[in-house]
Each structure stands twice: as C-alpha cells, then as structure tokens.
C-alpha cells in the first residue's frame, strides 16, 4: 500500500493541461489510478466520454502511457483485443515486456451501452482491469439520465418538473453484477479516499485475470456544486452509506470503510443542484434513505459485519 509521500514522488502518467472542468472528479480518478499503476507498464483504453474527449484533443494528449479509444460501448472489448494481441505476440517472442491493461469507462459507457461488452470481457477472463468512473449520468453529452443516476436526481432526460421529482428508479448495482461474474477481484471505491483507491488499483493489477473497480467520481457540472468540494462530496457519499467502499476477493466480501457515524443522506443532497427540487419532499428523501440502509445492511451481512438496527 503506497503512502501519500511515495505517491507524490512517482512520475505522473497523466499530465495537466487537459480540458476537463475545474474540480472534475474524472481527472482526479484517472491520475490516482495511474499513480497506483505506475510500477507497471500499462496500456489504457477508454470509452467515448468526458475523460477521453478532454484529454486527447489532437494533436495533444495527456496520456504518457499508450492510450487507445475507439467507440462508446466497447472499451472492454477493445481492451480485450489488445490483451489478446499481447498474449499472442508475447508467445511469439515479439513483445518481451510485462504489460498490464486498464479499460476506463464512465457509467454511461459501462452500466448501460457497454454492459454487454464488459460482461463478455470479464467472462472470457482477460487479464485486465476495468475501471468505471461513476458520476451518475451521461455527462459528456449534457447530463442525461443513466441507470447509475440516483433516484430523485434531476437530469436533462429525467428532469424534475411540475409533476415529476426527476429520476423514478434507484441506481443499478453494477459492482454486484460484476461480483456475480465470479471474477477474482471486484471492488467499489471513491476518489474521496485516495488510500483506498490506490490500494485497490494495486491489488487489482496484481490479480491474475479480470478485475473490476467502480469508482465514485463527482461531476461538478452535472451535479451543480461548488468545484472546491469535489472530494468532500465524494467522502459524504460514503459517510451517508450511499456509496459503500468494499471489495470482493475471490468471492469473499470485505468492507473497506465504515463511517464512525452515519451522516444523514440529506447532507449529501443539499450541496448539489441536481437534488434541489427534492429537499422539501421529506417523504421521498426518507424513502430513499431507507433503501440506502437496506442495501447497506445487506452488504454488511455479505461482509460478515454486525448489522446495527
């Protein structure tokens, strides 16, 4: 597990000067992942999305490692192809280095349009890490609803209005879906906890076979908050039990973080414009909070933790 001093000494694999928003979680996410991966030679792919378009405007690139993008729904399939090329060329003696593979995708490219491609790549067992940076909507195209958007959030295709409070459904639990593929390593972490994030990336890259990490990544534009509080918001998501951090290692669940005291979900909501319309709807907020607790308690059981009533 690298300390902050050691991480600070490592060479940056992603340079500044990219066009991501100030306070963007995705840039923080990619930088932390690459710092954690820097002891390896890595090749990265990304689905179409903010991370890709803002870091690779030709003829510039923020990526100091080989980086490849082809389309929106296929970061996993594309990465699996490069990994297959690696296996073949290594066997033939045409590549002699040890290389690791990281596929990035946002929640749109992962939970929704890229789910099939991801499932296929994980099932086939490629030696690669898939990183989903979950910011809860299609941010690159302008904040449209995804299956990762939280219930009640305002998005441009699930807006709140006179007769609607925004998204009606709870978010899909993608990390659970990945764990159900019985891959050797699946985890959930957050940019709010650099130590947990970098540790998990290291673990995933040291794992033989496919691994998956779902990273909570605030979006200041889509969530409408002060860009200074990106990390604070990410921490609040875990402190309210909305975004638990845990890992599933060879089928064994382990909770990575348990807040000393659970904070009310409303504290997370009230800092963001996307929830502004529902703050007065106490019934809805309570209902959501109950669902968050139900999911949290279920996770505690899976992790063999004591459930507090």
């Amino acid at each position: 597990m690298p300390g902050i001093k050691e991480l600070a000494k490592r060479e940056e694999q992603m340079t500044g000067g990219h066009r991501l928003c100030s306070g963007c979680g995705a840039g923080i996410m990619a930088r932390q992942v690459l710092l954690a991966a820097s002891k390896h030679k890595v090749i990265c792919t990304s689905s179409t999305g903010c991370l890709e378009v803002a870091t690779t405007i030709f003829p510039y690139s923020s990526w100091k490692v080989p980086f490849f993008h082809s389309a929106f729904e296929n970061s996993a399939a594309t990465c699996s192809g490069i990994e297959a090329a690696y296996q073949a060329l290594k066997r033939k003696g045409k590549v002699d280095k040890d290389i690791k593979f990281i596929a990035f995708g946002g929640d749109g490219g992962t939970y929704d349009i890229g789910l099939q491609s991801l499932s296929g790549a994980m099932e086939r067992g490629h030696n690669m890490l898939y990183v989903c940076y979950d910011n809860g909507a299609y941010m690159n195209t302008g904040i449209q609803r995804s299956s990762a958007s939280p219930r009640g959030s305002h998005t441009t295709t699930g807006p709140s209005g006179k007769v609607s409070y925004g998204k009606k459904q709870y978010r899909k639990d993608l990390t659970e879906i990945m764990a159900s593929h019985h891959i050797p390593y699946a985890a959930q972490t957050s940019i709010g906890n650099w130590r947990d994030l970098t540790t998990k990336v290291e673990k995933a890259l040291d794992t033989e076979g496919p691994s998956f990490i779902n990273i909570f990544t605030p979006c200041r534009l889509g969530w409408a908050y002060d860009p200074a509080i990106t990390i604070e918001l990410a921490k609040l998501a875990s402190d309210t039990h909305y975004w638990p951090m845990y890992e599933v290692v060879n089928g064994e669940y382990k909770l990575s973080y348990k807040p000393k005291e659970k904070k009310p979900y409303k504290e997370f909501l009230q800092l963001q414009g996307r929830f502004k319309h529902m703050l007065k709807n106490e019934e809805l907020v309570n209902e959501i909070e109950e669902e968050i607790e139900r999911r949290w308690n279920r996770l505690l059981k899976l992790c063999g933790e004591e459930v507090q009533q």
Binding site: T56, I57, K64, V65, P66, A85
Partner: protein, 394 residues
C-alpha cells in the same frame, strides 16, 4: 501442408486461408452462413495448427472492437461474418478504416433482415460499401481462398493500410464443395510476409495516443489521407494480383473480362452469378451473338476509369444487382457503373436488373433472357425499362 488440389466448400476454403495466414488474433461470433469459418478455425486453434489467440466475443460489434484493439496493439487480426453480423459491426467498420488498421475479414454474403432470410444476396456488403473498407467479391471458393491471402498483403501495404472484406455468396458458394488449388503453407507464409507495423500500442517504450478527438482543424486532413489510401489501393490490388499470378498461375485484377473481345451485349455482375453467365456467353458466342461478361471483383475502390475503358465498345449493357439501394433508381452497382460511363462520348445503352434477393435462384434461362433484352435494345436503340426485377412474382 503442400500445395494441392483439394475439395473444399467456400467456408472451408476461407478457413484454410486463415489457417495459413495464422493471424495473431481472431475474434469472432457465429452467424449463418459464415459460422463455419470461425468454427473450423477454432478447431485449428484447438489442434495446435495455428498459434492464434482466439477470442470468443459476445457479439460482432465486440468482434470488430477486439480486432481493432488487437490490430492497434500490433497484431495481425481477423474475423469472419455475414449479414446481420456485418450490420451490427457497422459503427466499428468505419473506425477500423479511419484508424487505418489493416484487418482482413472473410464475409459471406447473406440477405439483410427484414424479412429475415439466411440466403445469399449482396445487401449486407452493399450496406457497408461506404465504410472505407476494400471490398473484394468472389465468384467461387478458389477466388475466395486466393483473395483472402492477397488481401493481407494489400491491406498491410504502406500505401494502403486499410481493412478489407472478402466476400462470396452465402450457401451458393459458402456451402458448395468445389475443387480448389491451395498454396503450400510455406508458399502462403512467404507470400504474405511478416507483419511489421510502424507504430503499435504494445510498443510501450514509444507510448502514443490513438483514437484521439479530432476536431475541425485536423479531421478533414486525416479523412483526405484515408481517401488517398483508397485511391492508391487499386494499384496495389493489381500489383498483388499480378504477383500472385506469377507465383501461382492465377492472376487477379480489378475485374475479369470474359469474352469481351468485340462484345456488343455485355452483362456486368459480381459473385457466383458470373459463373452461370459464363455458360450462357459461351452458348451465345457459338450462335454468333457477340455476348460478353464483365465480372467485377473489386467494388471498393470502384474502378471507374478502368471499367469505362473496358466498356467502351459495348452497345448495350445490363448491370446485375443482387441488392437494391431503395433510391427508386436501381441497385448500388448500377449507380456506380452508370456514373463511370458518364464521360464516355459514345455510351452503351444501359439497364439494370435486380435479381436473386434472399437467395432466389437465377438460372441460365433468366440470364439468356437478359441478353435477349439487350439484343432488342440494340435493335430499337431504346432502353424500354431502366430498372428491371428478374425472377420476381409481381
């Protein structure tokens, strides 16, 4: 295996070509009538006859995505598909060519849904004609086998660096046993040579970004380069076809001219129907009718100049399309052929026949009827009906 005369179906011939190419990566998904190609290939993998990494993807979209990743990675990558599979790949076809990745794909022509149909017509590859892929159409298994091997060399040529699909007609060729001449494994290997990409992702000490966002200030230049590569492909296709002929006795060009010497009545067709047409041409020639056949092999890049030169002497021309373009003016082959003749001072009378959709059989009589129509046209000097539907109940 030594070079030999063997009996092979179209699919087997395609799979044998893939075995001899021994690609680094094959990513494929089953689809009738091309399923066998990947299936037979997977047995070659299982039997250790190739040392390919075989990726059993969950869709054709992922098949092409994985091939694109593998090719960008520095590998020689292949897949095989047909019809709906090709349609599902469509987005990625443009990306393979746009990123200048020399992927070779055996393709078995099959009608597109709806209505669903598994038999041979050209609607699938015609729907992919503007994807930036080289398109090679084959009359029979021999051509399919030879063309797949040539395609590797064509695509990887530094002036080209484009992907290619090599097609034959579903079931009519894919499932029909024919005698073919195969190269020996060694001959095939030597002919295609080793793949040495200039830049590739697995070369981690020279990291680079591929697939970057390319906006108003560069996209056009990159597309212009791609267009130029397609322009240059014609020359390379001819060179490789000649070299193949010199080494193995079967020369290939952009198209085949069959009894075109002094031909006045000409049918232009692609694929297996060319074989049937040859029989009719021989019969007509015996009876003193100046019939000829122009079998188009390369549909992309389209040989505009060469084709208009070859058709200069024809009095009447029937373009046979095994698909329709739904533009209210005939098939896609007709569009391009008609356009190639525009600058000729003396143009042949030209007509279009849509035939064989959904694998509808086309026999000698039907083709004989087309030549009869052409004869009538030369007699009256008129094209009575520009677009005709051959063998359909109306």
């Amino acid at each position: 295996m030594a070079g030999d005369k063997v009996a092979r179906t179209g699919n087997e011939a395609m799979a044998e070509a893939m075995r001899q190419i021994n690609p680094d990566v094959v990513a494929a998904y089953p689809i009738t009538p091309a399923t066998e190609v990947a299936q037979l290939f997977s047995q070659f993998v299982a039997d250790g006859k190739v040392d390919t990494e075989f990726v059993t993807v969950e869709s054709e979209h992922s098949a092409m995505s994985a091939c694109i990743g593998a090719s960008a990675g520095g590998a020689r990558a292949m897949t095989a598909t047909a019809s709906q599979g090709l349609a599902l790949m469509n987005e990625m076809l443009h990306i393979a060519s746009g990123l200048r990745l020399p992927i070779v794909m055996p393709e078995v022509n099959r009608a597109l849904s709806a209505p669903i149909n598994i038999h041979g017509d050209h609607s699938d590859t015609m729907a992919s004609k503007d994807t930036g892929w080289i398109q090679i159409n084959c009359e029979n298994s021999q051509e399919a086998y030879d063309s797949i091997i040539q395609a590797v060399k064509i695509c990887e040529h530094p002036d080209v660096l484009l992907p290619a699909m090599v097609s034959d007609d579903g079931f009519i060729i894919s499932h029909c046993m024919e005698v073919i001449h195969m190269l020996s494994d060694d001959e095939a290997k030597k002919f295609i040579g080793e793949y040495k990409p200039e830049r590739f992702l697995l070369d981690v000490d020279r990291p680079y970004t591929l697939g970057a966002l390319d906006l108003q200030d560069y996209y056009f230049e990159h597309k212009r380069q791609e267009i130029e590569a397609m322009n240059k492909a014609s020359k390379v296709i001819v060179e490789v076809g000649k070299e193949f002929g010199k080494k193995f006795g079967r020369e290939y060009g952009l198209f085949e001219e069959y009894r075109m010497d002094g031909a006045e009545l000409v049918i232009l067709v692609m694929g297996s129907t060319a074989g049937t047409t040859k029989t009719v041409v021989r019969e007509l020639r015996k009876n003193g009718i100046k019939a000829g056949l122009l079998k188009l092999r390369i549909f992309r890049p389209f040989p505009f100049k060469e084709l208009s030169d070859a058709l200069r002497g024809a009095k009447a021309l029937a373009v046979m399309d095994r698909s329709d373009a739904f533009n209210s003016f005939g098939g896609p082959l007709f569009e391009d052929v008609r356009s190639s003749l525009y600058d000729l001072e003396k143009k042949p009378l030209i007509t279009n026949y849509i035939y064989g959709l959904g694998g509808r059989d086309i026999g000698l009589d039907a083709i004989k009827g087309v030549y009869d129509d052409l004869k009538k046209m030369t007699e009256t000097g008129k094209v009575e009906q520009v677009v005709n539907y051959l063998g359909v109940r109306e």
